[in-house]
């Protein structure tokens, strides 16, 4: 840790703060997460920030998902977008931090590339959020969510395959 550059410190802070912000966003729904859940997630996030390649990140994210499953009665409001942004920021920061040893300085073009990518993939969150809001008041039909997920997945895969050649190699 003593060898971390300033950029690495910033990245690790973002990695640490992401899951905690996602939990805090749940409180905006009026249903704060369980304190034990917060403590465990904070510990996992700290481990995630120290070792961004470790499994601690996936477990911390899973804890956030579990907390959102449990609270809010499944409501889909704007706080979900905030939580999605926090998780994505934490993920992107961890990817940037794990490009080399702790004392490797951040490459500016690479950082900008990932900021652009983060902004691009975040578009999926409001898209799903809008879809969920539209369908929220509709009477639930059997298999509508499965069909929806399959449709979205198919669209994503098609977009990736179609645009794969234009990605920087």
């Amino acid at each position: 840790m003593r060898q971390w550059t300033r950029g690495q410190w910033v990245l690790r802070l973002v990695v640490l703060a992401g899951p905690l912000l996602a939990l805090a966003a749940q409180a905006l729904q009026g249903d704060p997460p369980h304190s034990l859940m917060v403590v465990v997630t904070a510990l996992l996030a700290a481990g995630f920030a120290r070792y961004p390649e470790s499994l601690a990140g996936a477990v911390a994210f899973a804890m956030v998902l579990a907390s959102w499953w449990d609270g809010g009665a499944g409501r889909v409001d704007l706080s979900a977008l905030l939580a999605a942004a926090a998780l994505l920021a934490s993920h992107v920061a961890a990817v940037l931090a794990s490009y080399g040893p702790d004392d490797v300085p951040l490459d500016r073009p690479l950082t900008l590339l990932w900021l652009a990518r983060g902004a691009a993939v975040f578009v999926a969150a409001p898209a799903v959020w809008l879809l969920a809001r539209l369908l929220w008041d509709q009477p639930e039909q059997s298999g509508v969510w499965v069909a929806g997920v399959l449709a979205v997945t198919g669209a994503v895969v098609f977009a990736i395959v179609a645009g794969g050649d234009r990605e920087p190699a």
Binding site: P52, E53, S54, L55, G57, A58, F61, A62, L65, W68, W69, G72, G74, R75, V76, A80, A83, A84, L87, L88, H91, A94, V95, S98, Y99, G100, P101, D103, V104, P105, L106, D107, P109, L110, L113, R117, G118, V121, F122, A124, A125, A127, V128, W129, A132, L135, W136, W145, V146, V149, V152, T153, V156, V157, I160, V161, G164, E167, P168, A169
Partner: protein
């Protein structure tokens, strides 16, 4: 130049980031669908896309990396570039290169750590060895990452090159004559007459004298032919006796603190270069376990050989009795330059022997100021300090003894240190002396 792949596990491996996004996306989607919680789908939707992009850009080619070094021979303080060459890395998006830390090798940029996009040009390191010796330079670990950070190849080592780092070459001008030039042709004024340019005297013509030597003005006044005589110009031999029995003090590379061996090697290099520049013959004798010896030679190729031998020095105590049997094999007229911290008594003996043979001899004291003994773990520091003080007292005695024999001892203070001493030795050489054989 060596090619490197990442060894047995040279395949592209999924990164922790890809594993995280795939796991979280799967858990979120399944939980959302199975539990009827669309909010979870909102949370993981960006990770689903990121994971999909990472998976789709899985590379198929196996890269090959190697580093190319700009120079094969360096002087300390000089710099060269180690360029990372990539082949089969078209599918890699990003490259991370970390230089292996090597003592006395400065790496730029950022202490030998670089991460950048592959498309933004080669990853170069500027390497600058800070101390003479044989150094491994250019050794680094390289890792490649595919687009969207999904897969990583490496790290693989590029391997370093063992490069001889010659001691810094400091030019200096000196007008001091060699004490006893004995060679054939050279730049030193000889004590005997010959075909040089410096005026020696005028004497009567003798058969065999060249006509162009006739001094017509004197001949016309004296009604007899006279010729102008000149001093011969000869080269001289310089024998460098280098003490490699131990290294005292701390070395910080060029520009920093110097150890005794640093001072010894750099002083020997400077004297050797000066001698070669004057056309003198230089020989090298290393006092140490290796006991390396280089014969007399002149010219730049020989100087390179001398510098190479100096760069290969390793401090090592000699075998029992080996140093005592040391013979200098110095011809008459050779100037003996002993470079030593004079902490080994045998160096005093060698110097005294050269003096008694009538060889012009001088000692360059290379013990740095404030040098302290390297105390091994478990040694009583008080006892070590006492032993060091005793050793320094013995050294003072040796130096006093040499001074009594007429041997100049000068501490090395950079180029020109031995100028005045050489001048005095040259004056003394013209005086009558008794030689003990």
């Amino acid at each position: 130049m060596r090619d490197r792949s990442a060894g047995p596990s040279s395949a592209w491996q999924p990164t922790g980031g890809l594993a995280r996004s795939v796991v979280v996306a799967t858990v979120g989607v399944v939980a959302s669908v199975a539990g009827g919680r669309p909010v979870l789908l909102v949370l993981v939707a960006p990770l689903v896309v990121a994971a999909a992009f990472g998976l789709v850009h899985r590379p198929t080619m196996t890269p090959v990396v190697h580093a190319r070094l700009g120079h094969r021979l360096l002087h300390e303080g000089q710099s060269t570039v180690s360029r990372l060459m990539l082949a089969g890395a078209d599918e890699a998006e990003q490259v991370t290169r970390v230089a292996v830390r090597e003592p006395f090798v400065r790496v730029r940029p950022a202490g030998g750590r670089a991460a950048r996009l592959v498309g933004r040009g080669p990853v170069d390191f500027e390497l600058s060895p800070r101390r003479w010796g044989r150094r491994s330079v250019g050794d680094s670990a390289v890792a490649l990452t595919s687009a969207w950070g999904g897969f990583r190849w490496g790290p693989a080592t590029t391997g370093g090159d063992r490069v001889p780092v010659l001691p810094v070459s400091v030019r200096y001008g000196s007008r001091a004559e060699s004490p006893q030039p004995r060679g054939l042709v050279g730049a030193h004024r000889s004590a005997r007459t010959g075909s040089g340019t410096e005026f020696s005297g005028i004497r009567g013509f003798e058969p065999g004298d060249r006509l162009r030597r006739i001094n017509w003005r004197v001949s016309a006044r004296s009604d007899r032919l006279h010729v102008t005589t000149t001093r011969a110009e000869e080269d001289a031999g310089v024998l460098l006796v280098v003490d490699a029995l131990a290294d005292h003090g701390r070395s910080e590379g060029i520009g920093g603190r110097e150890s005794s061996l640093d001072l010894t090697v750099r002083a020997a290099a400077a004297v050797a270069e000066h001698a070669v520049r004057q056309g003198d013959r230089v020989s090298l004798r290393v006092v140490g376990r290796e006991g390396r010896q280089l014969g007399y030679g002149a010219g730049w190729v020989h100087l390179r050989r001398v510098l190479g031998a100096l760069a290969a020095l390793q401090p090592s105590a000699a075998h029992d009795g080996e140093v005592e049997r040391l013979q200098l094999r110095a011809a008459e007229g050779t100037m003996v330059v002993v470079l030593s911290p004079m902490l080994a008594e045998v160096l005093g003996t060698v110097t005294a022997t050269a003096l008694r043979r009538g060889l012009p001899t001088l000692v360059i004291d290379t013990l740095p100021d404030g040098a302290a003994p390297a105390v091994t773990r478990g040694t009583d520091p008080v006892a070590a300090d006492l032993a060091w003080r005793l050793r320094k007292l013995e050294r003072e005695q040796v130096l006093s003894g040499l001074a009594a024999l007429g041997c100049p001892v000068v501490p090395w203070r950079g180029p020109g240190t031995i100028d005045e001493v050489t001048r005095r030795l040259a004056r003394r050489a013209q005086q009558p002396r008794v030689v003990v054989r």
